[in-house]
């Protein structure tokens, strides 16, 4: 859990964003290479290593999803690559509509926009559920909570990609 160490934290899934930011600024002031420009080569290298580790850690931990993915990975858990089975039917319909739009059928636009809204809503819902799961896991260190988080993240990643794809297609065909 190197990223947590960089920020002087013990590993946890829910973090206070303000506290995180404060730690980041504090450590940046201390370790930024600008503070060591007249130091020896060894010290400069250390400042560079410390700061890049700090920046990488802050970038990952401040984003709840990236943070949870990192946390799982450190616990030896990988995210799945295939579609969550409960979404298959809807995804199939969505892909049909996308094909139609690409083929120039503008009547596909309305159902796509609607689907985009629905999936965005699902994503927001997952984010709320994740926040609760984070608190639960931190309190209990319960492995089943971690497994639930993994499933939620799988779903979220998949939905997120769908939203992005639909967004892209809708925008591309507006520009035409």
């Amino acid at each position: 859990m190197e990223f947590y160490q960089s920020l002087g934290l013990s590993p946890a899934l829910s973090l206070d964003p303000e506290d995180l930011k404060r730690r980041f600024y504090e450590r940046s002031r201390q370790w930024h290479p600008d503070r060591f420009s007249r130091a020896g080569a060894e010290e400069q290298q250390r400042a560079l290593d410390m700061t890049s580790a700090l920046n990488d850690a802050f970038r990952t931990l401040r984003d709840p999803v990236a943070r949870a993915e990192y946390f799982l990975k450190q616990n030896g858990m990988e995210l799945a690559k295939d579609a969550p089975p409960e979404l298959l039917e809807e995804v199939f319909e969505l892909n049909m509509a996308l094909e139609e739009l690409r083929g120039g059928d503008d009547s596909a636009r309305a159902p796509l926009a609607e689907a985009q809204e629905r999936f965005s809503g699902m994503r927001a819902e997952i984010d709320r559920a994740l926040a609760d799961l984070f608190v639960r896991y931190d309190a209990t260190r319960d492995a089943t909570a971690l497994e639930e988080i993994r499933r939620a993240l799988n779903r979220r990643r998949y939905i997120s990609n769908l939203v992005k794809e639909v967004e892209k297609e809708l925008n591309v065909h507006v520009a035409d």
């Binding site: 002031r29 600008d34 890049s52 990488d56 970038r59």
Partner: protein, 604 residues
């Protein structure tokens, strides 16, 4: 160095801040009262006089009219680029590309051939000399600004230019970030600030969060080939067509005429920032061309250019994760932001009246000086946290890009990847590193190819080489590889896709010395005199301190004698002689320096 021993406290030689602009360059330094511009504006123009002497600055700008084929301007547009990507540039700018420019771009000025970093180095040398003349001390270290949207190759080329000019480039700072530093906006309050920087040849937009002296860049975007130059070329083109229909003569093939007209066009453009109409007025070959241009017509002409800045602005706001309403201030930087249409476009987009208190031509150099102060440890309460403008990735199967470090990541930033072999006995692994946002390698900017070589023969997939990609605080990529089985550093060959290899830069540094041996001797004399000035000033000051009276009579006499002897040889043109007397004074003042040092310690 002598001054270091005596003038304890403000001892180390100063770090200058340099704005190396497309059109103009400036040098500044941090003083106790704040940043100060050290000399006048130096046009970023370089010319080779008929006698072979290379000149930079206003003298070179004048030679644009008399010797256009031996003179080059806007060379910043060529930094870190290859022959293939400057075809558009070549249509608009009179760059004389030398033969054999395939691997590294070269320019022909008269009988001499230079790479873009060497041209920039001439501008930097001029700034260095100007700074030394004002500061009365040698200048060897600098902070140089670059457009925030500069890619790795463009940054590396700028750093190379510094090295060729004899400057240790301690940091490359992004221009909009430097401007934010110069404004000292952090003193007013914490908040979110947008910096809109439209210069001679580049456009940048950056959004920063200010928090207790920390300037944290949230996102940056831009276009490294968009600026006042484009407006000049547009007007120039129109005027040339005009002249052709009026005079029945095409002047576009006459470099002298084109440069004169370009100057007149720029004058008219600049006037239109203050008055509602201006005249492009040129006399050439006994004929006169006059054309009135109103602000209304001007606005219509340049609207498409101004509009090109809006896309990056919107993307930057989105990337920063803020809304327009959350922006507390907007700062304008770069000469082109004097144009009324640019100002109104910015006001409309950001819904805020922009800051224009500081001279937009000077603000970047002032900010570079503040950053130099931060590096020197003189400015302890400020810190810049900048980002990388472009995503960094590696080529994977099928010409796809796998992104390792995303754009707008705070730098230094790093990523590690594990590489192995795909075939039994394979001895090399090639890694192709690119920069850009697109998914296909061919749409991104190739940075370099790294060859992990001399891998011990073993079955496929057994090798374990960990490669670390690190973007440093200058925004420049550093790559290291480690063999995980032996835990040893793994060697590799680096082939930069554009720009110079380390050896080439070293060769240029040597060449720039040997070619100008006269120049070198002269410089050595000048530097020796500058050092003599500094040590004598420091000695003078120290002689008024209590410590001086604690010395023995013999020690005091030795100092007086050494000062007199240095004065005698001061105007001699043998720098070795000056140096020997300098060293003598240095030795003589050692007891004094020690005494001051003791005194300071007791006081403290």
């Amino acid at each position: 160095m002598s001054t270091l021993q005596i003038d304890f406290g403000s001892s180390k030689s100063r770090i200058v801040g340099i704005d190396l602009g497309t059109t103009n360059s400036l040098v500044a330094v941090m003083e106790l009262t704040g940043p100060r511009i050290l000399s006048g504006i130096v046009p970023s123009v370089v010319s080779v006089a008929p006698d072979g002497e290379v000149v930079a600055g206003s003298q070179a700008r004048d030679m644009l009219l008399t010797h256009p084929e031996r003179t080059v301007y806007s060379v910043k547009r060529l930094m870190g680029r290859g022959l293939a990507d400057i075809q558009e540039e070549l249509k608009l700018f009179p760059f004389h590309i030398a033969p054999s420019s395939e691997s590294v771009l070269k320019l022909q000025l008269g009988e001499k051939v230079f790479t873009p970093p060497e041209i920039s180095a001439h501008v930097l040398r001029k700034l260095k000399r100007d700074a030394e003349a004002v500061l009365c001390e040698p200048v060897t270290q600098a902070v140089i600004t670059v457009p925030a949207y500069f890619n790795d190759a463009q940054r590396q080329a700028t750093k190379d230019a510094g090295r060729i000019a004899g400057l240790e480039v301690l940091r490359l700072v992004n221009e909009p970030t430097a401007a934010a530093l110069a404004y000292g906006l952090d003193k007013r309050k914490d908040g979110i600030v947008a910096v809109y920087d439209l210069g001679g040849g580049t456009f940048d937009i950056s959004i920063l969060r200010l928090h207790e002296g920390i300037f944290e860049v949230l996102a940056t975007s831009g276009d490294t080939h968009l600026g006042g130059d484009d407006i000049d070329n547009l007007l120039l083109h129109i005027a040339l067509e005009d002249i052709q229909s009026e005079w029945g003569e095409d002047l576009s093939g006459d470099p002298g005429a084109v440069q004169l007209l370009r100057r007149r066009v720029i004058e008219a453009k600049e006037k239109l920032s203050f008055v509602p109409k201006a005249i492009i007025d040129m006399e050439y070959g006994g004929r006169r061309y006059q054309r009135e241009i109103t602000l209304e017509v001007f606005d219509k002409l340049i609207q498409p250019i101004v509009d090109r800045t809006l896309g990056p602005c919107r993307r930057c706001i989105a990337d920063a994760g803020v809304t327009v309403e959350q922006l507390d201030e907007v700062v304008l930087v770069g000469g082109s932001t004097r144009i009324p249409l640019v100002r109104s476009a910015v006001e409309k987009l950001f819904r805020a009246r922009p800051h224009t208190e500081l001279n937009p031509d000077e603000v970047v150099a002032l900010g570079a000086a503040v950053q130099a102060g931060i590096l020197a440890g003189d400015v302890a309460d400020k810190l810049l946290l900048d980002v990388t403008p472009l995503s960094l990735g590696i080529e994977t199967m099928g010409g796809l890009v796998s992104k390792l470090i995303h754009r707008n990541s705070t730098i230094p930033a790093s990523a590690t990847e594990l590489f192995t072999t795909g075939v039994d006995g394979q001895c090399n692994v090639l890694i192709h590193v690119v920069q850009g946002e697109r998914e296909l390698v061919k749409d991104c900017r190739s940075l370099a190819r790294f060859d992990l070589k001399d891998i011990d023969p073993m079955p496929a997939g057994m090798a374990r080489i960990e490669v670390r990609f690190l973007i440093d605080a200058n925004g420049i990529l550093n790559v290291t590889a480690r063999d995980l089985r032996t835990a040893k550093e793994h060697s590799m060959d680096v082939k930069p896709s554009y720009g110079l290899t380390d050896d080439q830069v070293e060769a240029m540094i040597l060449e720039s010395f040997s070619k100008a041996e006269e120049d070198l001797r002269e410089r050595q004399v000048r530097e020796a005199r500058i050092e003599a000035d500094a040590i004598m000033a420091a000695t003078d000051k120290a002689r008024r301190s209590d410590a001086y009276f604690e010395l023995t009579d013999a020690e005091r006499a030795a100092i007086s004698r050494a000062v007199n002897e240095l004065l005698v040889v001061y105007h001699h043109d043998n720098y070795l002689l000056i140096r020997s007397k300098l060293d003598q004074l240095d030795q003589a003042t050692l007891p004094l320096a020690e005494s001051i040092l003791r005194g300071t310690r007791i006081d403290a």
